[in-house]
Symmetry: C2
Subunit: 437 residues, 2 copies
Amino acid sequence: MNGTDQSKFPTVVIIGGGFGGIQVAKQLKDKPVEIILIDKHNYHTFQPLLYQVATGSLEAESIAFSLRKNFDEQKNLRFRNTEVLGISAETNTVHTAIGDIAYDYLVIATGSTTNFFGNKEIEHYAMPMKSIPEAMNLRYLVLQNLEEAVLKPSREERVPYLSFVLVGAGPTGVELAGALAELRNHVLNKDYPELAKEEMKVYLVDFLPKVLGPFSDEGSKAAEGYLKDMGVEVLLGVKVESYDGNQIKFEGGKSIQTKNVIWSAGVMGVVPEGVSKDVIERGNRIKVDNICRVVGSSNIFAIGDVAAMITPETPKGHPGVAQVAIQMGQTTGKNIYKIIKGEQPEPFKYNDKGSLATIGRNKAIADLGKLKFQGFFAWLIWMFVHLISLMGGRNKVIVFINWIASYVTYNGGSRLIIRNFKREELVEKDEQISKPD
Amino acid sequence: MNGTDQSKFPTVVIIGGGFGGIQVAKQLKDKPVEIILIDKHNYHTFQPLLYQVATGSLEAESIAFSLRKNFDEQKNLRFRNTEVLGISAETNTVHTAIGDIAYDYLVIATGSTTNFFGNKEIEHYAMPMKSIPEAMNLRYLVLQNLEEAVLKPSREERVPYLSFVLVGAGPTGVELAGALAELRNHVLNKDYPELAKEEMKVYLVDFLPKVLGPFSDEGSKAAEGYLKDMGVEVLLGVKVESYDGNQIKFEGGKSIQTKNVIWSAGVMGVVPEGVSKDVIERGNRIKVDNICRVVGSSNIFAIGDVAAMITPETPKGHPGVAQVAIQMGQTTGKNIYKIIKGEQPEPFKYNDKGSLATIGRNKAIADLGKLKFQGFFAWLIWMFVHLISLMGGRNKVIVFINWIASYVTYNGGSRLIIRNFKREELVEKDEQISKPD
């Protein structure tokens, strides 16, 4: 590898430039280490706003940030845009598509991917939304199905194209449901005069009896109310049985004709090859000790969605949210430097700042410890927090302008179909989705 | 077709939502006609800024505008997002991928595509840049080749990845050369500390003895000077012989090792199947009379890049620029209404407002009739004209902010690789390029 063996400083290899990985790198700025950051994308993704990319309200570029650009001032970091094939802990090596990379310390910050819980048919036909290429595919699918619907002569034939079923009523499902309902309520008639607003249906399905499971009951109830007001059909306590690309069936016999099933019902860790099966926890996460060190290892750390820190206070590990990844990244970065200096590392302590979810204009839920807000004020908090968290001043300004434009016109976003995502090729979707990655 | 046979108004079918096609539609707003606008994309492309999408300075969405959104207030227009398979003049029918569409008046506004002058090898390996998917492919190729270069251990091995050869020194080639030179001068070192600025080479090649052929000698000279100042190697009077994906050869024996050849050396009209071969002119354009009517037809018009209006004043037809398409569209829209009313159509008269090209920050050429500017003032004119011509207020604001950000930081744009464009799959490029379309 270029520029790695010249140095006598210890090499810290970070796999993944998500919320956690970039914090590790930042903490080690100007420290006597050589950092190699590996990501299969050349950008960081601000996942909380992916759903707005999927509905065409925001451009992909507004919620992504070049990793090279982000670290162009950090002299001790090299970026490698490649795929990790596996790790060999015994030789301290990461195997990648561009060759082997040796490490002294390794941080696994690979995040999570959609969990279809082993149902291959659903995995094949339903759309995930965990990455920018996936969000773009989803956008093209939605828009193309609206175009298809225009061409169908009868209401009945239009049903499957105009029915949108979101499985999983966590923040992603709720926010996407709200955004699709707004598309229906404010845009459909203008852009597609051939279609009646009532023909487009948005369903939000969860096997739990409430939306926004981990939120307060107060917030959850408010969210459900907002969704219903906007015309979303909320189906709770309902389990999906099958989906064949045309019809989704639920336990108990109910079914919906639809060509649009979006799956956000669960995630699972992305574990590199070579990590011992003995340390894999529920949800395909890597078991770590209280300093985020992989159990049984001395120099490998795992943080964020891929890490499971099982303690008496967190018997299932921490929630898979950006805040956990960020804080684990900060602690791990500091700890690696402490270990190098021969100091005692400090245990990780999660500072839960609360949860936010938006449903639509003027509507959001904010559970901030004891403070709970719903409605307009929560929506202002949601916007503020997301804007300041976005990477890059230009992105902040552009997202802000887009939001203002959408708010004023009720008709934001560009809604361009730049790549065709062909329904009839849906059987080849795996390939379509892996290609962009 | 939905919504077409209910009406007793004459049906005007417009193929193509480019500069010309949308003007025809606009002129017929509120007129007693039924308009069907067909485009294989669901958006209008502002082609003059495509090169900024290719270099990653602007997002694709900033220079494209949803055709549905653009016409959402025009009640007599229906949009069809489909491909035209051909036309049958004898039955007044357009054949499309979604069925046949009958017309009373047809406007062919299909524009032009890259002309490789029959060289299949060059067509196969060189990159065109006439559409948004092509500009995106080009962006990904450039960025991926920079990533590849980082991994090559020797300068010699890096040469083909870091050499950019632009064939054709018209406005597209000149503006792209300037943008790539700025990428090299201001961004390369920051983002790719492994690479030396001097290693990246930008070549601009033309078989003519001057850059910006149709411009004034004064403007052409100034442009050449700016390019050289920025480090572009300008090779004039040079004819390309071959390009095999690794090496471009010129007549006379010179050659350059490169994996990046961008071809903007010529265009040719996109003529639908079914147009008589007898009316096809040089450059694959359709011969039209002085009211843009296809020679030999009474109700088919052709406008913009695909039309050749041969007159004593324009022996080669009009130049393939946006202004010609816009003005032909306006005249044709008006004339169709006049013909319907039984009035005399008015002949087309081109009002040449001049030519603009930019080379980089503070550097542009403006040939405005007798007024000729070069440098900073021309650059201000260029920016102003392009901003006001962009469709959509949001696009204007976002492009303006991007330009300001780039100007201030010397480091604009996101430069994300969202879809992989694999070099080793370049032999399958045709498929890659046709897929996005």
